[in-house]
Structure formats: C-alpha cells, structure tokens
Symmetry: C2
Subunit: 365 residues, 2 copies
C-alpha cells in the first residue's frame, strides 16, 4: 500500500503547483516567493520551516536550514532543495539574483516590511512585485480528498463533545475541562488541538475568546466549549453551549436567538451567495431582536491547513461562496457581566446548499 | 494581598512604557505603533489580540476588537482603549492621522509589506518611520521579577524530566511520551507547553526539530527530549538525552563531545562576551574533533515572553551579552542515518558568570 499512497500524494501537490504556475503566467510573473508556511506545505508537502521558490515552469525549490534538510528530502522529494545556513532570505536572494526573465512575485501579506527591504536589496537584477492570495485562493477550494481530511478532524471533535458534554458538572474548572478535551482529541488520533481550547463558564462566557481559568462551574452556569482537532494537517472548529442547570429565561432567550440566527445562515449558505450577504442573514435575526450590537465578530471563516483562513464571512468580505469552500458558521451574542452564547458548525459549500460536517448534537431549548 | 499585587504589576508595566518613551525621544520619534503581541503584553499586561500606540508622552492606547474589549479593560486598566470593528490597522490609522508632531515609528519586523502600505495610505499627515527592536531590546534584559517567573517555568520542566526520564523504556512511542510530558507540565501548573514537545528516538534524533511519531523506542536507542513550560507568560526550554541501553562507543563519543562543548560554553558565558564569541567556544570543540559541520544551528537564543527571542547566540549575531539576559546554551551534533544529540540549559547572564537555571540532571558518561 505504501508506495501507492506516496504516488498519489506527489501528484496532488504537483497538481497544485501546476495550477499556481498557470496563475503566475496569467499574472505576468516569472515566479513566486512563498513564505507562508501553510502555503509551502500545500504546494510541497514539506511541514518544516523554509521558503519556497516557484518559477513559472519547472520544479519548485525549497530553501531551508540544516535543521530541516532531511525532513524536506523525506516529505518533498519532488522539489529541488537548498539547505542554507545564512537564512532563508539570503538563500532566496541568491537564487533570485540570477533571475532576469520578468518580475517575481512575493507574498506581501506574509513578508515583513524589513524582510522585503532586505530581499529587494539582495536580489540584484530581479524585479520583485507584491502578490496577494495567489496560493490562498487555490487553497480555499478544497478537493474531496482534503474534505475527507477535514471530516476526520471534525469527527474527532464531535466524538469528544458527545463523550464529554453529558459529564460536565458544577465544580469542575475551565482549565481541567480544556485539558481533558485536548487529551481526548489526542487519544482519538489528533496531532494536536487546532487552537487553544476555549472553555468559558458563567459570566466568563461573555468573552468570545476566553482563556480557560481555574474558575469552577456554578450550578446554573452556561458553558461555552470551542475547540477543534488537527488531523494530517487539517483543522476542525466547533462551538457548543452546555447548560448545567435548567436554563433560565434569559439563557433560553439568548440561546434561542443564536440558534435561530445559525439555522438561518446554515439554510442560506450555498454557492453564489456572497460572504457579506450570508453574514447579514444571521445579523438580521439579531437586528430584529434589537441585539445586533452584541454580535461583535464576523459570522465565520475558512478552515483547512489553517484554522482561520480565507474566505472570511463578514460584512466587509469581498468573497462569493463557491463549491468546495469549507467555512464555519458561528453567530454569537455576548453580554458583559451576564455571559454569552455561540454555536458553530463547519460546513462545505455545495452548489445548492451547505453540507454540515459537524455532527455533534446541539442543545434544543 | 490582591490589591497590593495589582499595584505592583501596574507599576512594572508603566516603568517599561517610560523606558520605551525615553528611547522614542532619543530617536526623535513622536510615538511607536506596536504590533508584536509579546511586545504589547510586555508594555501593558494585555494578553489578547490588538495593536498598541505609545506616544512619546502620556498614556498608551490599546486598539482591539469587541472580542477582547473586556479583557483589555481587565488586564490593562492603565491604558486608553479603542475597541474597533474595522480592524486594528484602520483603528491605528484613525489615531495616527491626527498626529502632526513628528515621525511615528512602526515595528518593521512585524508589520507585513501589505499592511505597511495600507497603514501609510490611511494615516494621512503622519510620517511613518520603520523602527527595529525598540521593545525587544528592553525585553532582552530581564528584571529579577521576570527571572523569577522564568525560574517557575524552568522548575516545572525540571520536575517533569526527573519524574519521567527514569521511566523511559523500549516500546514506548515518541508521541505518547510527548503527550505525557505536556500533561505533566500542565498538572504542575504550566499554562501550556512552550512549544510542541520534541521526542526523537534512534535515527530520528538526527532531526534537530523532529515531530514526535508513532515510532517505538528501540532497545539501545538514544532519546532526545526537548521541551519547556509557560508559566505566567514566561517560557522555559531544555534538552536532555536519555540512553535506553548501555551506551555504544559512538553514543559515548558524540554525547561526550556535545557535553564538553556545552560545558565550555557554560563556563565562558558572562557579561561582556559577544554572542558570536560564545558560539565559537562551543563550535571550536567540535571543530577540533573534526565534526563542526554536524552542528547545523546556532548555540542558543533568548527566552522570555517568547521561547525564541533576542539575542540570538550565533556566529552572525551582533549582540554582546549583558547582565540579566536569559539565553539557552544548546550545542548539538546530528548525523543523518545514525542520530543526534543535544544538551540544552537555560542560563541568566551575570557580571562574572552564567547562572544556570536548569536543574535537571544530565547523563554523565
């Protein structure tokens, strides 16, 4: 089996490089300096640190340091390799200074102001040109193979939730539960947590991105669990609310609104709708209830080799949803002093609907 | 006790801001846009996401989004606060466009090429000027209070090592041991691991930054353990080798050389020596033995609010060691196909010597 799988992996990354090379040619670029690590991984399979030079034709070249040389050979045998000891930037500049065939793009979103200056100064004779999202816009449409990997990461988180949620009790601490979630994910095969697990209870649930503390759950607390797993480099991301006692009237109201907003967005999500329109679908539910101000973040974000990637689903987003995009749908309401709720599913955008990947049960009030 | 501790914390961050303001005045800057998260934390105590505007005089201003508004108020009550929903960059630009008093610095190492362009375009009337290491060079000299925090993080890792090392056995997997280490650190009070724990066994120990795999330890394997804890935001970092059987001749030779190089560097480390000189002390031991090529990384790096921070200890470093710097000393030798060794301690640079913080025992062959 092993040689077969290896072959398949090679052709997948090679196909991605070919698609990028088409974009380079279309944009009049002789090449692209790739710095963003998930982009390097996407194009090569190499998971260490380094830069990547992709020319409009031919074999991509990984520039790494001796710590990662062996790993690069192992993970990306299809690439040329420079193992340099004076920094990736100088290694790239050395190669670029021989390029006289046209402007070479660089990832303006990921190179620092300082490094851009240094790269320019040391790449004599090469015209550098800022390029944005060339790889990201390949990445945001997932292949079915990638969706399978995301499904595996989703399944881990789903199972953890179903095991854990019924066992939550007053007196447990946020920190202990967060740690338990991360341990369960590892036992189920996750490489690591997709991001630091959020367990926020009672009034602390009003912090959208709370860091777990030693606070003990109270008897009628709401507990916000936001976590995800990484499996084979791909992430999942989900949020569920657990009510430890019989929900109060306000808990029912706030959760009910959030549930309604999320359902509306899940139903509206499909290819062709813009990210801003989809954000508005959820936001309008809150607006009609007079609490749109309590929804202080966007509706969602892309998920893949990064837990936050393009496209953003927000009022300011320029994106239109396309088949194969994998995004979160996660409206929330936050009231300082009282608490907050959020419900988050991961979905695949299909032609006529969103396919909900997250299977974990949701509280129905 | 609580109000007292709070007061102390405030005055510490305020003192840091005052020292930065002196540097700004000396550099002819009317202010500094701080983006790097550990720098924001260092100057304010705020641990969420956001930017910080420090003017040459007066109260610093945190620019964050609604997810972190409450947290910023809680953690940094001494700061002014803008909670913005159109991005930190636009929030900063809004404030900067009112500045007519002189050039304002920005952290050129941390702002992307793209964001710098956008910040410039949206900060009409404000002259922006790249600034480097203004906060980092404050941070690299630690106060005794900070050293105490680092000691706490070191103590956690030390204890984990002493508990775990005698229990390592052939048949355990790298992944399981890495996870056990991280769990033990949490139980001992760490917020999290300082970086993904490295457990590399047998030939895999030749990868300086190996990701733990399901490889089972063999009977005569050497196991490289490289890990650290975060306590109160401060990091520790240590590497130890464990030999599961009676060490082979080659294991003894390679380990012995690495031990000798590390001892030489520990003994040479003190205020006044340059980072490049100290790197050479260890490298010369390997050079005399004819294996300097197998030491493919620098001797060490600063540790504090980041696990890798200034100063770098390498042949290319421009730094001179000063009292209060906290750095790793970690020579290593790596032989593809055979394996590698590294020994790493964390030390505080003092006037006449290095104070070794790491107390974990070392194999003596």
């Amino acid at each position: 089996m092993r040689p077969k799988r290896r072959k398949k992996k090679l052709s997948e990354v090679e196909g991605r490089v070919k698609r990028l090379q088409k974009r380079l040619a279309a944009g009049g670029l002789a090449g692209l300096v790739v710095l963003h690590r998930p982009n390097v991984r996407y194009l090569t399979g190499f998971t260490g640190e380094g830069w990547l030079l992709v020319r409009a034709r031919g074999q991509p070249r990984i520039i790494t340091d001796p710590r990662y040389g062996m790993q690069a050979q192992e993970e990306a045998p299809q690439c040329a390799l420079d193992v340099v000891s004076k920094g990736y930037l100088m290694g790239a500049a050395h190669r670029l200074s021989r390029t006289r065939s046209g402007p070479v793009g660089f990832e303006g979103d990921y190179i620092s102001y300082t490094d851009h200056k240094r790269l320019q100064q040391n790449s004599k004779g090469c015209r550098l040109k800022a390029a944005r999202r060339l790889v990201e816009e390949l990445r945001w449409i997932k292949s079915e193979h990638e969706i399978q990997r995301i499904r595996a990461a989703v399944a881990v988180a789903d199972q953890v939730y179903e095991d854990l949620a019924p066992r939550l009790r007053p007196g447990q601490t946020e920190r202990d539960v967060a740690w338990e979630i991360e341990g369960m994910m590892r036992e189920l095969g996750a490489e690591k947590a997709a991001f630091p697990t959020i367990v926020a209870s009672g009034p602390r649930s009003a912090l959208p991105h709370a860091i777990p503390t030693d606070r003990k759950f109270g008897r009628r607390d709401q507990v916000k669990l936001d976590f995800g797993a990484v499996v084979n480099g791909y992430h999942s991301d989900m949020t569920r609310m657990v009510f430890l006692g019989k929900p109060t009237k306000r808990q029912r109201e706030v959760y009910g609104l959030c549930y309604e907003a999320q359902q509306a967005a899940l139903e509206a999500a499909r290819a062709g709708i813009t990210a801003a329109e989809l954000d508005a679908v959820a936001r309008d539910v809150f607006r009609r209830a007079g609490c749109a101000d309590a929804f202080g973040h966007g509706l969602g974000h892309g998920v893949g080799l990064e837990v936050h990637e393009a496209p953003a689903l927000s009022a300011r987003s320029q994106a239109t949803l396309e088949p194969g995009m994998v995004v979160t749908i996660e409206p929330g309401l936050y009231f300082e002093g009282w608490g907050g709720v959020r419900i988050e599913d991961l979905v695949v955008i299909r032609e006529d609907a969103a396919e909900v990947l997250t299977q974990a049960s949701k509280v129905e009030l």
